[in-house]
């Protein structure tokens, strides 16, 4: 009896102690206005820039990272967090706007907005850039090993179906991306909503089955670095990262269309330091800061002024900065509504099940 009571007391005591202890582990900043909570993808900003921003403005940056749009949205959504600047991809911006999670931007506080190329502004996912500004952009293409795939020309999506690639293609685990390969290879839009066309695309993908070695997530990077497969369908940014590690690889965006994706900067409704958030965006859009960040991250920048400051070699690399003609073939994913997204996912699941 007595021992039970003391046990309970001990348990409560330990619990209280631990709760108290968390105060030291994660100091809660309460100096309002001096702190900016930034929530970004991993390895997606030059840390030197964060230091520079802190120095210039006196605002302390608290930097956290996420690894998927979905996980990010859950954290922003469920409250208890107050991130000031977040970096969602374009399709997530659209969702977050619908769910009223974002705050309209005050464009006057971001004069450096003028540096952004016209091609990258006023996109259908956020008309007039009311809520978001582009941070980096890219495409979906084929990363391949030129030596082991000699004689194959990846400027055509249909090359992926070649017999010589049997069991040698890795694909990213995304319904839109994989279905997109089918759709693009047949000359259809990536935002196709005709059910019959989508079925046909899935059937065509099933024929790709024997060539598919696996459908994986970010592990694709580690696998391609050790040449686990000869070719992979990946985002251009990821391809760039992998090619730094494995110089034998090359990347190309096949003709006939591909995806144009954006990672953007937004301010959630729950932001505490709205002014600081605008300052931060403006800071990143500065030509020199933008160029420095682009060199560090390695993705394609929508910042025209920053682009002009990059090395000629980078600027003229058409794999990552496609020419005007090819850019016109690129399509941004539209939010097709829950029913269509369901259908894409169902078909994707069917394709996965057909893999052997």
């Amino acid at each position: 009896m007595k021992s039970t009571v003391s046990m309970i007391l001990a348990a409560v005591g330990i619990g209280a102690l631990i709760l108290f202890g968390t105060r030291f582990v994660n100091p809660v900043p309460n100096e309002e206005g001096n702190v900016l909570h930034v929530y970004n993808w991993g390895e997606y900003i030059d840390p030197d820039l964060l230091a520079k921003f802190e120095e210039e403005t006196g605002i302390r940056v608290i930097y956290e990272t996420f690894d998927s749009n979905e996980a990010m949205k859950v954290k922003v959504n469920q409250g208890g967090t107050n991130y000031d600047v977040v970096f969602p991809s374009e399709y997530m911006v659209e969702k977050m706007v619908v769910e009223d999670l974002l705050m309209p931007l005050d464009h006057e506080q971001i004069p450096n907005m003028k540096n952004i190329g016209d091609n990258f502004l006023d996109q259908p996912f956020d008309p007039g850039n009311t809520y978001s500004l582009p941070y980096f952009w890219g495409t979906v293409g084929v990363l391949y090993h030129p030596e082991t795939t000699e004689g194959l020309d990846f400027s055509d999506w249909d090359t992926l179906w070649d017999d010589r690639l049997e069991n040698d293609i890795l694909m990213v685990d995304g319904a839109r991306e994989v279905m997109g390969v089918g759709l693009n290879s047949m000359g259809h839009s990536l935002n196709e909503t005709n059910e019959e066309v989508l079925q046909e695309a899935e059937e065509k993908l099933e024929a790709l089955g024997p060539n598919v070695r696996g459908i994986v997530g970010d592990e694709i990077a580690a696998m391609m670095e050790v040449n686990e497969a000869k070719a992979a369908v990946v985002w251009s940014g990821m391809a760039q990262d992998i090619m730094w590690e494995n110089e034998a690889l090359d990347f190309t965006v096949p003709e006939g269309g591909s995806n144009l994706w954006f990672d953007t900067m937004v301010i959630p409704r729950t932001a505490q330091n709205v002014e600081g958030a605008h300052q931060f965006m403006n800071f990143l859009l500065d030509p020199e800061n933008g160029a420095q960040n682009t060199e560090w991250v390695g993705y394609a920048t929508p910042n025209e002024a920053a682009y002009q400051l990059l090395d000629k070699e980078i600027r003229q690399d058409e794999r990552f900065y496609p020419d005007q003609e090819q850019q016109e073939e690129l399509e941004v994913y539209r939010n097709l509504g829950p029913e269509m997204i369901s259908l894409y996912n169902e078909l994707f699941l069917r394709f996965k099940m057909a893999l052997e």
Binding site: M1, T4, S68, E70, N167, L170, D173, G174, A175, V212, R213, G214, I215, V216, G217, E219, A222, M223, V226, N227, E228, P338, E339, I341, S342, N345, E346, F348, L349, R350, K352, M353, L355, E356
Partner: protein
């Protein structure tokens, strides 16, 4: 009085973390993607695709459970005979302290084209194997992960069997095989059943391993649930699959829990 008081936290726990989530899940399963009440999710579950997926999930879960059992039972008997039982047991259980994903990633490295397994195989003069992304690799990794969970209850069961019983059986003329089949086996049956329960159900929904090790070439119900919740955001359909997983669990529990009331200290974790 004290007993009742102590029961309260438990009750709160059960309601908050068992009853409520289960209720929510069953509730969600009757709503479609736009939040209208519907039975369509159940209809969709019985469509050919999900049915096929269920069958393949069960098949792989069966194989994983079978191989875990085939390895764990002799292992438990062997450990029972050793001098330092706890030490050997600890060795087997030690890997469970390492994060599951970490272990899985390690296997990617080993099974890859230029991984350890192929290095050894080619050094020994065998042809290069394409182990990664095969269903064999999936079963190997899953069995490796589940062995401790199968081993523990079985070990507890066989360890509780008095040596006298075995000696008596031998003295009365039973062969080694008879001792195993007619004394050891029946007495350790509760442990085996517990082991099967603990291994079979989770292996129905191993979605991370199917993605990492088989590159989605093996699809389980877990893959479908993950996709429904995260990408499609169709909580209704995801919950429906979850409901069927629970039904499957109940089925396995019923099948494996008949007639072991007489067990004393055996069969517990």
């Amino acid at each position: 009085m004290m007993r009742r008081l102590l029961f309260i936290p438990y009750l709160i726990w059960i309601v908050l973390f068992v009853v409520a989530p289960l209720g929510l899940m069953v509730g969600y399963s009757f709503f479609d993607i736009s939040g209208n009440p519907t039975l369509a999710n159940y209809g969709a579950f019985f469509s050919s695709e999900y049915f096929e997926m269920t069958l393949s999930s069960f098949w792989y879960a069966f194989l994983i459970t079978l191989f875990s059992l085939l390895i764990s039972y002799p292992l438990a008997l062997a450990i029972r005979q050793t001098k330092h039982k706890m030490f050997w047991l600890l060795l087997i259980i030690l890997p469970t302290w390492i994060n599951l994903l970490l272990k899985t990633y390690a296997f990617i490295g080993m099974f890859g084209k230029e991984g350890l397994v192929n290095a050894v195989a080619t050094a020994l003069g065998f042809a290069e194997q394409q182990l990664l992304f095969s269903d064999i690799a999936f079963i190997i990794v899953s069995v490796y992960i589940f062995i401790p969970f199968m081993l523990l209850p079985i070990f507890n069961a066989v360890d509780g069997i008095e040596n006298n019983l075995l000696s008596a059986a031998r003295d009365l003329g039973a062969s080694k095989w008879d001792v195993l089949m007619r004394v050891l086996m029946p007495l350790s049956l509760p442990g085996i059943k517990t082991g099967i329960q603990i291994v079979f159900i989770p292996s129905l929904s191993l979605f991370m391993i199917t993605r990492l090790i088989t590159g989605n070439k093996v699809i389980t119900l877990g893959t479908a649930i993950e996709q429904q919740f995260l990408t499609t955001e169709n909580w209704g359909m995801g919950s429906t699959i979850g409901v069927f997983l629970i039904l499957a669990m109940m089925l396995v529990m019923t099948v494996t829990s008949g007639r072991n009331k007489e067990t004393g200290r055996v069969g517990r974790l």
